[in-house]
Amino acid sequence: MRFYEYEAKEVLKKYSIPLPKSLFVKDSDSAFNAAQNLSTDVVIKSQVLSGGRMKAGGIDFANSPEEVKEKSRIILELEINGLLPVGILIEEKKKITQEYFAAVTYDGRAKKPVIIFSDMGGIDIEEVANSHPEHLSRTHFSAARPFSPFTAKNAVAAVGVTGRELNQLSAIVTNLCNLFLERDLTLAEINPIGKLEDGSIIALDCHLDMESEARNTHSALLAEIGVPEEDNRQSRPPTQFEIDAANVDAADTRGVAGNLTEFDGNLGLIIGAGGGSLTLFDAVRAAGGKPANYCEIGGNPSVAKAANLTKLICSQPKVDKVAVMMNVVSNTRVDIVARGVIKGCIEAGFDPAEKIAIFRIPGSWEEEGFALLERYGVDYVDRSVSMHEAAQRAVEKMKGI
């Protein structure tokens, strides 16, 4: 779960990381008042969960409250990657003499947390890694032992920083590592860290991601900075179809039937499980099909749950037919899913034989499932028909619709 910049800065403050003064506002009148209280020169920053704000025009500068008000109005209405800001951050503008980059994340290869540090902040860090590798350090540390500040010192010193800067930056990186570990973050990045003319060092922008599974552990912190419990922070706001599917999944704890993402096409997909869904979605597209949705079923959902998901997908006006496909299943039962999709189809007012383009779920209890599909005239195949062949067949049936 990604934090907005203004939220992330509240979290940094708790970990004694120095920041410029700023105020989060939701309209241009409040922006005017904020500017009056802050300083003459301010930065206006769009609060969206998207990178590339500067390029998209989501960050601007102003030197009077009037100008702040005017420019705030524009930024508040500016969509960035399809997202409208939830508000803007008005921040005092500082003169920067040097920029640094610091991030903490997990390295799946070393299986440990890693500090990535550079004295070339403010630009794309992958670019620095490619063109100026000597300006970038990677320093692993243990998640099992308490964090020791020398690790942060090593990370900063590795790119050649010394003197007063070394000690100031090491303190910031130490605090960032403690924050990362204590709050179950998967990414804690400050870019840029700025050195001011008086030699002091502050965090100018930051990106924090908290592991979704750990949200409950940190509910007090989240409540304090005002993150609503139901806010899922995907990279775009959910559609009604997606919200309805999430509700189907949440209403019944037996198995998974949800994690639905809407697409523009006309072929509804009831697919699973995790890897199977990825494979089948690719297969449908490779065959020239146009999926109306991605979804995941697995973990042996109840008949009612599979039925409710099927009913929801069949009821979408844009869905002409549905394809029901999974990899060879072990714990999910073919007959239970077959009951669910047939029932859901009928409840939505359709004939399963017409609406279900193909049913390809082989595996446990398949004999029982196939007998059921036979009875309702649904076109089904067993494991001798591959996932890609099944997807191809479903797509062919869509022709002429």
Partner: protein, 298 residues
């Protein structure tokens, strides 16, 4: 031969009285695996499908040598269960549990490395050596499992539990069969990656080729490619890459916890390029995997 497990591997299940674990225990016994007992705190003295339940792992390891443990407990108790097994001296752990916070995974994986414990998972379906033994839910009930996993010459490693069975099924249908198949887990941090398991397959005279299932996210495919370039491994490897549509959808998570495109290196197109450069064949469809393997096995 097989890797990691064989017909003599005796093991326990931590969390054996849970709903999913009870079913798994039955399937393991049906398969002929040497399941000798299980642990659920407070349930000492009970039985599950005829095997004894104890309160602690030590209750087993104090009186006999235990080769492995399957951890199938809720996420909140998983780290403790892993630590208990490591402390008791068990050297092979299969962590089935999903949704364990990443920090805890990093912690117990580090502990396992220090104690030279082989850890598979988390968020996996386990290991199977067809005809010998299996540890975990992979393949499911006996009949369907035997159909999909026929003994043979191909090693399988997969980030998806379900796709482990699908790929094995295509290998069995083609007549190649499976030496050992490992569902390595779908999380961002896992105990054993492709590259870490490869040396075991390289050393196994029965394994003639490798099939892997991969996804967007993480660096495990790069690590494998580098291993293939530097190790002198002679095994032909065929990879299948799912989630190609995700290249166009950065920041969105699909499928498993570790499956997300955050940077260019996470995309399927970059991974396919790197795998191909290292001599690994990339299959477009599951049914192409046995075909490509047969072309490459000498």
């Amino acid at each position: 031969m097989s890797i990691l497990i064989d017909e003599n591997t005796n093991f326990i299940i931590q969390g054996i009285t849970g709903r999913e674990a009870v079913t798994m225990a039955k399937e393991l016994l049906d398969y002929g695996s040497k399941l000798v007992g299980g642990v659920t705190p407070g349930r000492k003295g009970r039985e599950v499908h005829g095997v004894p339940v104890e309160d602690t792992v030590r209750a087993f390891t104090n009186s006999q040598s235990i080769g492995a443990s399957i951890i199938s407990v809720p996420p909140a108790f998983a780290a403790d269960a892993v630590n208990e097994a490591i402390e008791a001296g068990i050297k092979l752990l299969v962590v089935v549990t999903e949704r364990i916070p990443r920090k805890q995974v990093a912690q117990f994986v580090e502990y396992a490395q220090q104690e030279e414990v082989r850890l598979i998972g988390p968020n996996c379906l386990g290991i199977i050596s067809p005809g010998k033994s299996k540890l975990g839910g992979v393949g499911g009930a006996l009949e369907s499992c035997e159909q999909a996993f026929q003994p043979g010459s191909i090693g399988v490693m997969s980030r998806s539990g379900g796709m482990t069975t699908e790929i094995a099924n295509s290998l069995s249908e083609s007549g190649l069969g499976i030496s050992t198949a490992i569902s390595i887990g779908g999380d961002a941090i896992i105990g054993s990656t492709y590259a870490e398991l490869m040396p075991l397959f390289d050393a196994d005279p029965e394994t003639k080729g490798i099939a892997i299932y991969s996804e967007p996210g993480g660096r495990a495919e790069y690590e494998l490619a580098e291993y293939m370039e530097s190790s002198g491994s002679k095994l032909p490897v065929v990879a299948f890459m799912a989630g190609r549509f995700m290249d166009e959808m950065p920041g969105m998570r699909f499928g498993h916890a570790g499956t997300i495109v955050e940077g260019k290196a996470d995309t399927t197109s970059e991974k396919i390029a790197k795998l191909s450069d290292s001599g690994i064949a990339v299959a477009e469809k599951i049914e192409d995997i046995p075909v490509l393997l047969k072309q490459r096995i000498r």
